[in-house]
Amino acid sequence: MKARTAVGIVMMLASLPFYAGGGMLISATIDMKERQARQQAAVDEQCVKLLNTLPNASVANVEGAAVVVMRDVTDPRKALTDATVAALMCPGRTLEEVCLGDKCQGAQDTVALRFKLTGAN
């Protein structure tokens, strides 16, 4: 067998593990992304459920963001803690806006807590 032929065959054989490794990486990456998407969806579903359990809370989906309004707040300090807990309950989302007071949007002259959690896909 000619040297070139032998080297050529060796290179062909050597390319096989490269193709296999690359294929496995791509497959693993796609699998991981799909699994992450499923997990993220589950976490977000749980997040919205938990948001609805907040006292006097109404949860609205505005362009993918969860807007929570808690009206008739009697304990402002607890309301702030509720907002923190809500943000921690939704690790896939980002706490983008918070407003506590009677002049917040949608407060209607009662003390309300309004916060917006964005980032869910």
Binding site: M1, K2, A3, R4, T5, A6, V7, G8, I9, V10, M11, M12, A14, S15, L16, F18, Y19, G21, G22, G23, L25, I26, A28, T29, M32, K33, Q36, Q39, Q40, V43, P76, R77, L80, T81, A83, T84, A87, L88, P91, G92, T94, L95, E96, E97, V98, C99, L100, G101, D102, K103, C104, F115
Partner: protein
């Protein structure tokens, strides 16, 4: 020109016509067989085949650059079937012509070649690409190199895809608790009674507090009244005269007397306010600070009862100081 040509010319060149060949494969095998039988340097030999007049024209070279005359010969014989054409084969001439209506090639002897080569008729041009008689493995090598290169590129690209796209999980972001809502309470905890927090707001990561005045009816008057009361209380308490410390012996004597007097009703501690608004007894063993406190209590009591403020507390050595705590 001739020198150039000799330098690149094959050691041997032959051309023939294989009338019985039906397929190209037959013609190729025939040409390869010719090389194996006749040529020594088989690995440096070349062949080329081309269909012509119902059969296959073949050409073989021993050495040389692998450029054949077969294409030029076909053109020449097609255009001029009566002509005789030649090309060099080492130091001799190979002549191509049509004989009896069929292509025919003959390697001339040295003596016969010279007149042909010197006749002024140009040689056929070697322009047809020929195939090597023995494969050198170049094709396999190039294929292997291409596969390996593409495989390495594919692997690197897949690693880049993994690095960019794959994350270990639905990332738990680092939580800055100092920026969370519950940690913003100190922003409003010092809000004055005359202010109302309209909103405590976070937008774009920044926290802001918006306040407005809180008007309480009568608060101003209440404050003024309070200030007046306080002023009256201050005015009613005259400064105590600075008295010298009693000698230690006298103090000890007074202390030794004290338990006896404490048996009397209403005298416990000597500083219990009298429920009737009377002044508490000032005892000899009282410190100046206690005397002042006693005087303040007496003044306040009298003020609450509408009595005129006491200008000055009784002197420490006044005869009214009795151990039974009777009001004076």
């Amino acid at each position: 020109m001739a020198k150039d040509f000799v330098g690149h010319a094959p050691m041997n060149a032959m051309m023939g016509w294989y009338e019985g060949a039906e397929t190209k494969k037959d013609a190729v095998e025939y040409a390869k067989g010719f090389i194996q039988r006749r040529y020594t340097a088989q690995e440096a030999s070349w062949y080329a085949v081309a269909p012509f007049m119902g059969g296959w024209l073949w050409e073989v070279h021993e050495g040389g650059p692998g450029r054949g005359y077969i294409g030029a010969a076909i053109d020449a014989l097609t255009q001029n079937p009566d002509g005789k054409f030649w090309f060099p084969s080492a130091d001799r001439a190979f002549q191509v012509m049509m004989r009896d209506g069929k292509p025919f090639g003959i390697l001339l002897s040295k003596n016969e070649s010279l007149p042909v080569m010197n006749s002024g008729q140009p040689s056929l041009i070697a322009a047809t690409k020929m195939m090597p008689a023995v494969k050198k493995g170049t094709g396999v090598f190039l294929t292997g190199a291409a596969l390996l290169g593409s495989a390495a590129t594919f692997l690197v690209a897949s690693m880049a895809f993994y690095a960019v796209s794959a994350n270990p999980g639905p990332g738990l972001k680092a939580v800055d608790f100092s920026a969370m809502p519950h940690a913003q309470w100190p922003l409003v905890i010092d809000t004055h009674v005359e202010e109302i927090v309209s909103k405590l707001e976070m937008n774009g990561g920044k926290w802001n507090v918006e306040k407005r005045p809180h008007v309480i009816d009568g608060l101003k008057e209440l404050r003024e009244e309070g200030q007046k009361i306080m002023q009256r209380a201050r005015d009613s308490v005259a400064p105590m005269p600075v008295e010298e410390e009693a000698p230690a012996a006298a103090g000890e004597q007074a202390s030794s007397d004290a338990p006896a007097s404490s048996d009397q009703p209403g005298a416990a501690g000597g500083s219990v306010p009298n429920p009737q608004g009377a002044a508490a007894p000032v005892q000899e063993n009282m410190s100046p600070a206690e005397r002042r406190r006693l005087a303040r209590e007496q003044a306040l009591r009298q003020m609450q009862q509408g009595a005129p403020a006491v200008a000055a507390p009784p002197a420490a050595d006044a005869p009214t100081d009795t151990p039974d705590g009777g009001a004076q």
